[in-house]
Amino acid sequence: MSFIRESFSEFWASNISKIGILFLTVLVIVSIYTVVTLPLDFGVRYWYNPLYWVDYPKTAQPEWINIFLSEKLMSHAELSVSKASGIKTYNNRFIKYYNVSYNHEYNQFPKFITLRISNLLFHNRDSPPIVRFYVTRPDGKTVELYTLAIETPSNNVIPPFKYFSIEPKRILLSGDMYLARSLIGFLYREFNISLGISSILEIGNERIIFGYISGKNTFTPLTGRYVFSTVLVCSDVNDNIGMVNVVLGGYVYGLMGTDVLGRDLSQGLLFGFPVALIIGIGTSLLTTVIGAGLGIISGYIGGRIDDFIQRFADTINNIPLLPLLILLSFIFGGKLWLIILVLVFFNWPSLTIIVRSMVLSAKTSQFIEAAVAIGASRLRVMVKHIFPQVAPFVFAQMIFFTPYAILAEAALSFLGLGDVTMPTWGQILEYGFKNGAVFLGYWWWILPPGLFIVYSAITFVFIALGMEPVVNPRLRRWK
């Protein structure tokens, strides 16, 4: 129809609409990317599963912050080695070395150190292997980090024995007593310093490993090349470690940093895109369809149906939204479908009332009378004759309503009423506030979700503004 073409060219004429469509395209593309790359149960499986994030740095800033800092913050480092770098024999024992090196150039200590080994394979039941961990510092000194004794396998398991294949063995060196004791000896041996175990633990194992004494009991980070060495003492030449990981907790991580649980915010924020779109568009679509539909029926058919729908709409308009929502969340638990349902249920009345009055005036047009005169059924008149009169307005309302829905959901999540199975921007904000991110200055946790909420709302506002010149002349008569 030519007037669709005309309206589109009107719409496209203003720059605001172009910006709006551009923003919308970005939203859609990012959402598609998210849906393709992240699994649907991302919320339950990963986001709300703290174990998954154990090796991630906590409250790390985004990596790109280093561009602006003169003194670079340490990047989170995960070192891995999966092949033996060397093998020696000694007393009919085999010694396999797994080495990985790391260049530390930062003026900070790692926040934590974690060792992980996976897929340990050995053959001799009576002599299980021993795993020892060492680190050689840039100043040549070596620290013994940890010794891992392997349990003898039980009698009903047949060789070859595979350990740590389902779940890797994780050793957190920070705060480890064994390492602390080892460090007492290290300090005395290498630096002639005598410190008790409580002092060591107070200073922190990482600081001692990665630092040198610069004053009384203060350590300064030691830059340079560190080599982490894993030694496997085994009785069979085919015994093997599948992979060794050394995790050095950093201060910066990823595109958007991490939160207090170490969750990669870029993933959480990414997931928020399609959710915002679905909530925004879904809610406004449902509200518009119900609101406009009831408005047309109410206005055109009139009589008792009209009275009934109007009184129903009035009643709903007067129910306070928030207390009811809190109650429902309490009963059913926060769920996405509940939020959408409630938003739709409380917002269709206002549209119905307006559409009804538009229909009442459209009803008096003579072409409506003409349609009845040629035998059109009531349904036909409503769909083919009345609806096109109110369609531009209804469509514009739908677009106007979308940012409201997005903001409403964000607000609800922020109040703690949101859906806890999937991360939304509102939820991320809520968790941040709850953990004092504002006071602690964790800007990367608070600003992005806020900005994204605003961005998605603005997208639809711009589109709606672009729709205005299309809607307005319709309200006047065609020339």
Binding site: M1, S2, F3, S365, Q366, F367, E369, A370, A371, V372, A373, I374, G375, A376, S377, R380, K384, H385, P388, Q389, R477, W478, K479
Partner: protein, 321 residues
């Protein structure tokens, strides 16, 4: 000639709520009987408040009569319930305002197709053929160009022809034309009316032509009924009534029409004083008596005159006769 439409003592009243407790009754049509035969055009002439518009709509059952009987093509349709689509097929109505009686969002093709679709003409090419033929009947040529246009692209006269085409597309046997040319330029009215007349003669359609302009009725109708405040005050053949108007109101209407004669500007024409009263509280007795120059005191303000045949086929409701 077989009668297509027979109205027997039709009364159409409307209730108007004025305030919380008061309800007023508007007696728009207050006892009208008439017959329209196949191929006959009856002009209904009156001013605002005469009820002619309501009469037209009641005749095609767009408004339900409050009492009386409507017999359409032999069947009593007064109280008919259920599917009345066959009535909608046989009886059509053309409205006054060509600007608002066409849906501005539909093309001419869609507007003309709609009646066909509603009444079950399923074949697309058959519909197209009917539409093109009807458009050339109303002299909108070339039809293929017109079907793609929107109403706002056409002039008033062209739009009115589309309305006529819409009424004709179902081959009705009866059409009510409610002031079809009042909103068209005086110089174009004749064209539309002649077209109407031609088509009506060709297809033998019975017609009720509602107008306030007696001059056009002359060229267009066979019989004329003059309405005042819901009642017919004079009825007869058009020639007869114009040559020999009996009711004082008819006389006044005829006098009110200007003739393009330069002598007119020196004449103050005899007119009827006052305004047509409202149909809510019609005057007692003869409804015209407050404005009538020939009032018989004691009779006209007390008794309502009945419509009686005074000369052959010339009826009038007046105490003068």
């Amino acid at each position: 000639m077989e009668p297509i439409l027979k109205l027997v003592d039709i009364k159409t009243y409307f209730s108007v709520r004025k305030g919380f407790f008061k309800t007023l009754t508007v007696k728009a049509v207050d006892g009208v009987s008439m017959t329209i035969s196949k191929g006959e055009i009856v002009a209904i002439v009156g001013e605002s408040g005469s009820g002619k518009t309501t009469l037209g709509r009641t005749a095609v059952k767009l408004i339900e009569p409050t009492s009386g009987k409507i017999v359409f093509k032999g069947s009593d349709i007064t109280n008919i319930k259920g599917d009345i689509r066959w009535i909608r097929k046989e009886a059509q109505i053309i409205f006054q305002d060509p600007f608002s009686s066409l849906n501005p969002y539909m093309t001419i093709k869609q507007i003309l197709e709609e009646p066909l679709i509603i009444h079950g003409v399923k074949d697309v090419s058959e519909r197209r053929e009917i539409i093109l033929k009807t458009l050339s009947n109303v002299r909108l040529s070339p039809p293929e160009e017109f079907i793609l246009k929107f109403p706002h692209m056409l002039s008033g006269g062209q739009r009115q022809r589309v309305c006529i085409a819409r009424a004709l597309v179902l081959n009705p046997s009866f059409i009510v034309a409610d002031e079809p040319v009042s909103m068209i330029d005086a110089s174009s009215r004749a064209e539309i009316l002649l077209l109407f007349r031609e088509l009506q003669e060709k297809y033998g359609i019975g017609m009720m032509y509602i107008t306030h302009d007696i001059a056009t009725a002359k060229y267009f109708s066979h019989n004329i009924g003059v309405m005042y405040l819901g009642k017919i005050v004079e009825y007869g053949s058009i020639r007869e009534v114009l040559k020999n108007p009996l009711h004082p109101y008819t006389v006044a209407l005829i006098n009110a029409i200007p003739d393009p004669d330069p002598e007119n500007r020196f004449r103050e024409r005899p007119i009827v004083p006052g305004e047509p009263p409202s149909p809510i509280n019609p005057p007692t007795g003869c409804r015209f008596h407050p404005r009538c120059p020939k009032i018989i005191d004691g009779k006209c303000n007390l008794n309502e005159p009945t419509l009686r045949e005074v000369c052959s086929k010339h009826f009038v409701a007046c105490h003068l006769y």
